[in-house]
Amino acid sequence: MLNELTLAQTIKDLKNKKISHKELYADINKAIEKDNKNLNIYLSLDEKALEKAEKLLNTPLAGVPIAVKDNFCTYNTLTTASSKVLENFKPQFESTVTKRLQNAGGVIIGKTNMDAWAHGSSTETSDFGRTLNPRNPEHLPGGSSGGSAAAIAADMTIGAIGSETAGSIRQPAAWCGVVGLKPTYGRVSRYGVASMASSTDSPGPITKTVEDAAIIFNAIAGHDPLDGTSSAQTPPDLTKYLGTSVKGLKIGVIYQDIKGVEFANEKLMEQLKVFEKLGATVEKADAMDPHHAIGVYTVVQRAEVSSNLARYSGVRYKNDRSFFGDEAKRRQMLGTYTLSKGYAEKYYELAQKVRTMFIEDLKRLFKEYDVLIAPTSPVLAKKIGATEGEAMFGELEDMLVEASSIAGLPGINIPYYHDKETNLFLGMDIIAPMWREDLLIQAADAFEKNTDWNTWRKKS
């Protein structure tokens, strides 16, 4: 089935006329028709996708379908951020990421489900119903970019776009057994992405392979004058780092002594031997306790959320604040509280200070190591309904990726273990210093090519 092809292979086959757009989109649509209803991955689909794709053969992305998280504004197309507040919202402008994707020849095949406003790590808080994990529908896909990760896992697209504030690309990628690249904060423009926590929001690719992630990164990264926090640096061509040697690469393995992560850590240490065989050094390293990152992230993110959602007042989007779901309401209340007079010093300002401590701690580690590795999530994908009564569900799930998120560092999730009983995956998170996505690609690609965990690589 052509929908099972990787992005790199699809582009190649299309350009070589080995396959046609018609055949490709037919297989994709078949997968969508078969499972979208029960898995609840796409909120909306572009019926003219094939028509658009056929005109794009001579572009870098050759008209491949890309699934996009529903918090990216797409011109005249429903953009809801999975919230009832925006259920009728059709933006009259295009986000920079989707604009660049389309300029490179990508076709936005549909908009994917997510935790409402990206508040969560389960896709259960969507106002339009939860998404199920295609690897095992009794389990959650993770979130908040759960729809995009699930679309990849279910072969309902060739490539996908998610956005991460702290874990929202890497964690669903881990739970769905796919690749998720969170670029350095400021590397990919946030323009046109409904803001969650402005100081950490980072759009990025969710894909089948590391190579696919590099290809999409190349299409979307780079300075955007419409985003004041976007970096002026020219991004590297990540495809150049595919297949390069990791000999001499110094890897620090962090979060080895954290309670509740024993199983994931044990399997991780086994797998990291692959790197040693390839000539890299692997060493346990002590990082600042990630439990503190939960506090920092929770305070900063809720504060920014309460501010960023203030605009949805009912004046413009018809549906007023009563349309917010429970999670969004909780976050706004907590954020409002932590920014209030007399509390801002106690919470917000203190959190920013501890945030700086995390940044310094990671800088210290990067003096000794080229990359740091830890499990992305402490556990395999949890069962549906796991978020009920768990107001801090996401923060606990994302604990291991929060430090790098609040520090703005790039990270990539790749699968490193498959649980046969549940058909679920564990993913590792490789993180690098600011602007060093090249190191991530180098390490992740080496691991992927020298192991069998990637289900698409195995097939080809």
Binding site: V193, L226, G228, S307, R311, R316, L339
Partner: protein
């Protein structure tokens, strides 16, 4: 007894002025709210607060704010940032206004007035809000929002409570407006709301140094005359309350320009909480010394400084010089200075020119080039020769036609001389040295 014998006024002003940059503060939209033909023409996802609309700061507006600070003797924060100020109002698209909280661009400056120095607490930069229009459409009362003004750069200049009365407030306000206009950064059209005034007013017993335990804020004043009247009214009103042994209510009041009264708008039970925090969409700003030096170079000399220079260079009376230099654009200063230089070159009296100019005796405009102006000035004072016999002839004619006046003069009513002089000049019909005419008439009368 007047209250002024017992109390003294404690008044601080907050002045907002829209900067006239080409584009808005945080987006590329045209900054021309008063020129827009229709509501909501100059808008985009950013100034409408759409999802994912992100602000990018307008460099020029920042430079201009610093320029204003340097022109008003302020210190500049070399590290600064923008903060979000949260409140709900339908004309505020994002639910917060991007403003500056604890690190304004400029702080601790001053502006001199004839009643003493007014210290400036701070000058910061923020974005203006949209405008609400309340209308009845098809019999239904509706509120409409126009965002042409939303996101226009707005400077806020805050003073210490140094102002003593309405007159001083008015003088301060006018000076500030002159500086804003002179720097070429704001039009300050008060009727349209391009400059808006707020006064915090209270009274304390003479000799006390503490701030009073209440203050009354008078908002939305759109002329200096109203500012003066509102302050004076408010001081009288508060004195009356204090005299009764009561404390005026801490509140916001408006000015009714028809009744010439302030009126209560809103009482503040407790301080508002705007939940300020640094805007994460806008990276903090670091200004280098070189950068600030560049801005400093662009700050022109202000009218008062120029007046002193002129007074020395052209030997002018300082008050006359100030009066001449009291203009609102640098262009006019350059024009006037060129004229003064030309007058000096030709040994003409600059004071005479200034009097003619200020009293509008000389018909010139700023479009005229300085040489032309000097020519006109010379023409104004140029006299023509007249044949002695012709002059005498004309005088005789006037005497004959005004025999009454001649008789009166000879009887000792010397004041009719002016009348006769005027008649003669009219008869001559051209400009002749008045001294010559005067002397000739006198001789004729005495003969």
């Amino acid at each position: 007894m007047k209250w002024q014998d017992t109390y003294e006024a404690v008044i601080g002003l907050e002045v907002h002025a829209e900067l006239k940059t080409k584009s808005k503060m945080f987006c590329g939209c045209k900054n021309d709210p008063f020129g827009a033909e229709k509501p909501n023409t100059y808008t985009c996802p950013v100034c409408l607060g759409m999802p994912g609309g992100l602000p990018v700061a307008n460099k020029k507006a920042i430079e201009w704010t610093i320029r204003l600070g340097l022109a008003t003797n302020c210190s500049i924060n070399k590290f600064s940032k923008f903060d979000r100020k949260h409140y709900f109002y339908p004309d505020l698209a994002k639910g917060y206004q991007i403003s500056q909280y604890d690190l304004p661009f400029c702080y601790e400056g001053f502006i001199e007035t004839s009643q003493g120095r007014v210290e400036l607490t701070r000058i910061h930069l923020e974005e203006d809000t949209g405008k609400l229009l309340h209308k009845t459409i098809d019999g239904e009362k509706v509120s409409l929002i126009d965002f042409n003004r939303g996101g226009v750069p707005l400077v806020e200049v805050v003073t210490e409570p140094d102002i003593k009365n309405g007159t001083q407030a008015k003088e301060y306000g006018k000076k500030l407006r002159q500086i804003l206009r002179f720097l070429g950064i704001a039009d300050c059209d008060m009727e349209q709301g391009g400059m808006r005034l707020e006064a915090n007013i209270s009274l304390r017993k003479k000799g006390e140094t503490e701030l009073p335990n209440y203050k009354v804020e008078v908002k939305n004043i759109n002329s200096f005359r109203f500012l003066e009247a509102a302050i004076d009214f408010e001081l009288d009103r508060q004195a009356e309350i204090l005299e009764k042994g009561e404390t005026p209510v801490q509140e916001t009041r408006g000015w009714n320009s028809v009744k010439n009264k302030t009126f209560s708008q809103r009482t503040k039970e407790e301080a508002e909480d705007y939940r300020y925090f640094p805007d994460p969409d806008l990276p903090p700003l670091h200004f280098t010394d070189e950068y600030l030096e560049e801005i400093k170079k662009a700050v022109p000399k202000l009218p008062e400084e120029i007046a002193i220079e002129w007074s020395n260079k052209f030997s002018l009376d300082i008050e006359k010089s100030k009066e001449l230099a009291n203009v609102e654009s640098e262009k006019v200063i350059v024009w006037l200075e060129e004229i003064l230089n030309k007058l000096k070159e030709e040994n003409l009296d600059p004071t005479l020119f200034i009097n003619d100019y200020l009293n509008k005796k000389i018909n010139i405009s700023q479009e005229m080039n300085p040489s032309e102006v000097v020519k006109k000035f010379k023409e104004l004072h140029q006299t023509e020769n007249i044949d002695d016999s012709l002059l005498k002839e004309k005088i005789e004619k006037v005497f004959e036609e005004n025999q009454d006046a001649v008789i009166k003069y000879k009887a000792g009513q010397k004041q009719v001389f002016g009348f006769l002089m005027g008649q003669v000049m009219k008869e001559i019909g051209k400009k002749v040295d008045p001294k010559l005419i005067r002397e000739t008439i006198q001789k004729s009368l005495e003969s």
